[in-house]
Symmetry: C2
Subunit: 409 residues, 2 copies
């Protein structure tokens, strides 16, 4: 990552799509950065595309070819951030600040060449540091990278968070600010569970699980990178000045509750296939093909009896058409494929679960008492997840939130 | 320009904003390129932003600061072409062709650092040639460049034409195709003069004059570059397969009419200032300030009598706010500034004028007979221009078109 010695006062600030979603909001963000500058900070700004813009671009591409992925697709999507950083830089300059918008290739945010889901390999922080030393605010395009042979890549949805943490790491910063349209990370989605509480401190591990389980607040790779480089993340509101949620190494938190949050993902699709050919060859090939297409497979279960081998797996709704296409090509004619949509995944997450073996039984008892059928299950040391019908999501989330005493936290 | 030996079969094809203005049109352009490929051509494609997109971006910038020009502004505008080339490359790949979208920095279209009106200094055609040799169609972003220190620039309105000619020159091509929404260059704007005729062949010089006098068909610098590198330009319709207008060196045309076209610019504003300080110091400083702001001053007249010195000059309507701002700063309080808007410039152009000294008198006689007042005048060897009231434009254009026998051409 080309780590540098920290320059006193540098703060990486990432503003999401809703924070820069209109000219008025861009002006408000610029005003906030001006105040921070007056307070002595040396900001390095990262911005996402204006909200709605990435979807507009995705629709344009889909009108030509809904299955197209690759270099042209990433170049298309990367244009969204180019617009927002240019506008934000103008708004800063209007306030008498010096600002320069920078694209990934101009900063040197180098990634691998897996289009649409590229991983950052190196950030050359030197150019940023030089600008900061000259009193200039770098305004960096989030979400995008560049391969070693000069091709534009994108980091996947929410990739701007990852950009921010990578910049903070390369600049030797202790922390990174992620500004968003909610004031903090909550114990559950407040739209689903009205009694959800703000979480003041979370561990990296919990945040990683939450991100991978459907919490929209932070991108998974962003937290992964934060862990790797020990960069604390401060999730806070663009529209209020108070502190939000700090995401920190586990040792830095005073006490951890057994369960920190109830997290859900309402965009789940389950595929069931029966019979599938015996032996690992078929499965290996199927999941290889899915991976090649960029489909992320979540929970996989496999079982067999005298009738044959059964397979079930879940993917995000977004990947459904691609997954179905691959499946039809790989599965033989006599196999039956059942697609279950209108599914949701609900999970409880908490590092405290390590020392409390009763969490799983309580989790399933809550669902059983509500007569909520469970379709797929997966667990780890610090989380339990179940795929249930989307129609049961709200009642299950509220009951779990209450059962694990999150209302009082 | 890094000229290379011509590769047999390479044809640079530039598609303007209306040609790629919707997904349907992008598909139609891709279809046309497919046919050309089947006929043995090796296309190198240049595209403008989708029509309306650049204006949308300009409005966003103006909402923040209507006077802002510079690095951030050019980066903002350059995003438009990024979208259209990515979509066009997808549409080509959908048809089984191999295509790669390329931004200016990826091609190596190097410019000076005059933002918004940058000039191309060098094109590194090597990368394009390598792609073509691999059977790949490069789809290059028009209108944009990159400075030697990696900053994105734009070439001014219509700059994609310039990009196309510069690529053709660097690839050693004899000609370059400019596809547009009209089938050819006309003797006058057909919306203004219904009897306007298509012009099969024009000389570089005439086209340059027409471009600088307000004809929207080709960008001035594009023709200038075509002259410099001897690249013929073929202006033709995106929607029809027949030939349009060839723009060629003067010697290649069989016979030239006295006047080739009546050209107009309906976006003219005249400033009149009285009195202005005597001596050249004031004028030098005023026009220097205007140039710094990127305002192109067109016709200038100056006169003096015992009352003092008078100055009048014209600019494009687009530059009016900037010009007015500079003028107010430079002119002393007791000077009077009159802004005349609703003006138009009307011109006749033709290389044949060199040998026909009666053209000017006929030009002014036509305007006189119509009782059209003339506010400013300028002439060159091959053109006569007059600034008149916009309300007189139509009648003047039709009368001049008839007087110079263009209806029969």
């Amino acid at each position: 990552m080309g780590l540098m010695k920290a320059q006193e006062g540098i703060v990486v600030k990432k503003f999401g799509g809703t924070s820069v979603g209109s000219i008025e909001r861009i002006e408000a963000v610029a005003e906030r950065i001006l105040q921070d500058t007056k307070a002595g900070q040396l900001p390095v700004v990262v911005a996402s595309a204006m909200s709605g813009e990435t979807n507009r671009l995705v629709r344009l591409a889909a009108d030509i070819d809904p299955f197209y992925r690759g270099l042209a697709y990433d170049m298309l999507l990367a244009s969204g951030e180019q617009v927002s950083i240019a506008l934000l830089a103008m708004a800063l300059e209007k306030r008498g600040l010096k600002a320069i918008p920078l694209l990934a290739y101009q900063v040197g945010i180098q990634t691998d060449s897996i289009f649409s889901k590229a991983r950052i390999q190196e950030v050359k922080g030197q150019r940023l540091l030089e600008l900061v030393k000259q009193g200039i605010i770098p305004v960096v395009a989030g979400f995008q990278g560049v391969t070693i042979d000069d091709r534009i890549t994108t980091l996947g949805r929410g990739g701007s968070d990852t950009t921010a943490v990578a910049l903070a790491a390369s600049l030797g910063c202790e922390a990174c600010e992620i500004y968003t349209d909610v004031p903090a990370v909550y114990t559950a989605d407040p739209r689903l569970v009205p009694k959800a509480q703000e979480i003041p401190v979370l561990s990296f591990e919990e945040m990683m699980e939450m991100a991978s389980l459907g919490s929209k607040v932070l991108h998974f790779r962003c937290v992964e990178l934060a862990v790797k480089f020990g960069v604390k993340i401060h999730v806070r509101s663009t529209f209020e000045r108070r502190e939000g949620t700090w995401v920190v190494p586990e040792g830095e938190r005073m006490e951890a509750p057994v369960v920190s949050s109830v997290t859900h993902d309402a965009q789940t699709v389950v595929f069931k296939i029966f019979p599938v050919p015996f032996g690992p060859g078929f499965l290996a090939q199927l999941f290889e093909r899915l991976a090649e297409k960029g489909v992320v497979v979540d929970i996989i279960t496999q079982s067999q009896n005298e009738e044959g081998q059964r397979l079930a797996f879940s993917v995000n709704e977004e990947d459904r058409p691609l997954a179905e296409q691959v499946l039809r090509q790989q599965v033989e004619d006599h196999s039956q494929i059942v697609v279950m949509d209108q599914m949701a995944k609900i999970s409880t997450v908490g590092v405290g679960m390590r020392n409390h073996p009763g969490v799983a039984s309580r989790f399933f008892k809550v669902l059983h008492d509500l007569e909520v059928p469970v379709h797929l299950v997966t667990t780890s040391e610090i989380k339990i997840s179940a795929v249930i019908d989307k129609s049961n999501l709200e009642v299950a989330a509220r009951a779990l939130h209450q059962a694990f005493s999150l209302e009082e936290s």
